[in-house]
Amino acid sequence: MLEVVSLSKDFKKHKAVEGVNIFLEKGETVGLLGPNGAGKSTIISMISSLISPSEGDVRLHNDSILKHPQMLRKVLGVVPQEIALYNDLTARENLEFFGKIHRLRGKALKDKIADILDQIGLKERQNDVVKTFSGGMKRRLNIGVALLHDPEILIMDEPTVGIDPQSRNYILEQVKRLNREKNMTILYTSHYMEEVEFLCDRIYIMDKGHIIASGTKDEIKSILSAESTILIKLERSSDAFVDRLKEIAYLKTVTSQDKEVTVVVPKEVHPFNQIFQIADETGATIVTIDRKTATLEDVFLHLTGRALRD
């Protein structure tokens, strides 16, 4: 349905996106994951035809939208990361304004607004000015505005940032419902792995402007299926303990943060006895030790690294 082909974007000398290929089939929910500055928002802007790519193409039903952006805009709804609303207008006035610019008029507009207000749970507060809303209510209205013209494809750029768990859960359920009941195709970006795991059929992971992994949830997790992670919690941090673990050849990676030590080992290796022995020798006291299989977050951190990003 929607295809991103070898998309690149340069900002002067900086390559924000390079050679990205993404496809979305009708009715799919696809996740786009990546740390800050990975290029997710730039890709979304290019898909939405808000900025033009330096190279590559975006195709809708095999037609280039670079040449005919209006074709895509008719079927595309975008939920931006920012709260793109008029703060001094009421929820209803915002919906009326954005409905009118989508050429909705009269009864059609009125019915649509009533439907959206119902979907986003703001019927009771429809006549209140947006600036009096909580973060969650604003986010819900932000999504509601993108649904006014019944889009076939919905792009959601981190739609749950900075809101309470109740609002977040409500939004996730609504996204799931849109996909299930209206067969809406959704491209969803988020920092929250559990959201992507809950919603998405397929996932793209990108970093530094490149797609570094893609596939179904299971395919992505299988990247770390040959390994498992051991989490060790100490009574107090111990450099000697960590240094001794690092000397063991078959432990693939050993990282520590304060009193927690994370060890990645091949799945067939069982190093618990040796770990307890080293703890005994170095005087470290183990509070808990836990072996777990790879999660999406593990894969994400494995692929993008644990170092802090700007």
């Binding site: 802007s45 975008v78 931006p80 990361q81």
Partner: protein
């Protein structure tokens, strides 16, 4: 476009305070600076003797345009003049007057003329009253004749003269009114145009781009709204001065209202240009006062350009919209210009407006905020 205009109107009605404050401040500035007597020369005076004639002379003098007379004792007056605190002092006597001066300037001869005229008017009226009294006509009736002759004369005399390039007519009321109005409206217009920057930063602009709304409709909706607000503000201020404080627009009030159209258009375009150049609303807020104040100073909003002698400043004033706004408004009123003469400043304003609008929108489109 209608949808955008309607939303902007709603937003304005929710927050009209900037508009109201700007209009109020402009009215106050224009009113007080034109009413003040800062241009009058203070002249201390002392009266010797006490009679009805002396009161008449003092009343006559207080109506003088060029001087502000301040009564004091003769000793105080001499002290003021001898210490140079006042250029001249005036001692009024029943049949004569004396002018004391600390230095001989052009003021002395003007003062002599004004006071001499007040004495001769008084003597003339006194002679007529005495003659009427001898005929048995009461002086109150004679006073009524004088009043009638002054308020509704049989003949009205209009003075006209050919003006050379070097002469200029100064009307402090219109100078203040036009100057402050054209200056303050820059803020009203600019801060309305700058909402485009806010909308870009908040993502609202992108949201509208993704709708079937065309780009020209987006710009037109925003710019027409700013134009209307700016125009309404100026018209409102001019209506206040025309119908409440009774300022003389020399019979050309409608022309003045028409001449505001090209000026407001140019300021909308200027604001668009600045919006296109700066990257953030904070930058815009910092730039606008600098641009507005310097344009007002150079363009003759605070004082008439005719008193500026620097060829550099006069050269710069040729590229400032306020110069042509003031020129058109003063031309239509004080200078009594015809349509042909008014076409020059109007054409320059329109040309500036078109250029700045084109460049501003171009800059804006090149950059994705």
């Amino acid at each position: 476009m209608k949808g955008i205009l309607f939303a902007k109107l709603k937003l304005f009605l929710r927050k009209p305070w900037l508009f109201v404050i700007m209009t109020g401040v402009c009215v106050m500035f224009a009113f007080f600076t034109s009413q003040g007597e800062v241009n009058k020369i203070p002249i201390p005076y002392s009266v010797v003797g006490d009679s009805e004639e002396m009161d008449r002379i003092v009343d006559e003098l207080k109506g003088a345009e060029a001087f502000q007379f301040q009564e004091m004792t003769e000793e105080q007056l001499k002290e003021y003049v001898s210490e140079g605190e006042r250029q001249s002092g005036l001692i009024l006597m029943p049949d004569d007057f004396r002018i004391m001066i600390s230095s001989n300037t052009g003021t002395t001869s003007l003062l002599q003329q004004v006071v001499g005229k007040a004495y001769s008017d008084m003597k003339y009226k006194k002679a007529v009253e005495e003659a009427a009294l001898s005929e048995g006509i009461p002086s109150a009736e004679v006073s009524g004749w004088f009043h009638e002759a002054e308020t509704a004369p049989v003949f009205s005399i209009k003075e006209a003269s050919f003006k050379g390039d070097d002469t200029f007519v100064y009307d402090p009321k219109l100078q203040s009114l036009f100057g402050f109005s054209l200056f303050f409206v820059i803020y009203t217009i600019a801060f309305n145009v700058s909402t485009i920057l806010n909308e870009k930063n908040e993502g609202v602009w992108d949201r509208i781009i993704l709708s079937p709304t065309r780009k020209w409709e987006m710009y037109a909706g925003n710019l027409v709204h700013s134009f209307i607000l700016g125009y309404v503000q100026l018209a409102l201020i001019f209506f206040v001065f025309r119908y409440i404080t009774d300022v003389n627009f020399y019979g050309n009030f409608t022309t003045v209202l028409l001449l505001l159209v090209p000026y407001v258009f140019t300021i909308v375009s200027l604001s668009m240009l600045i919006t296109g150049i700066v990257k953030k609303v904070q930058h815009f807020s910092a730039v606008i006062p600098i641009v507005a104040v310097s344009m007002a100073m150079i363009g003759g909003a605070f004082w008439p350009l005719e008193i500026v002698k620097s060829p550099i400043l006069l050269g710069i004033s040729k590229v400032v919209p306020i110069t042509y706004g003031m020129e058109a408004l003063k031309g239509a009123t004080i200078n009594g210009w015809g349509t042909e003469q008014l076409m020059l400043p109007v054409s320059v304003l329109i040309l500036m407006g078109v250029l700045m609008m084109g460049i501003g929108i171009n800059f804006m489109e090149r950059r994705h905020v």
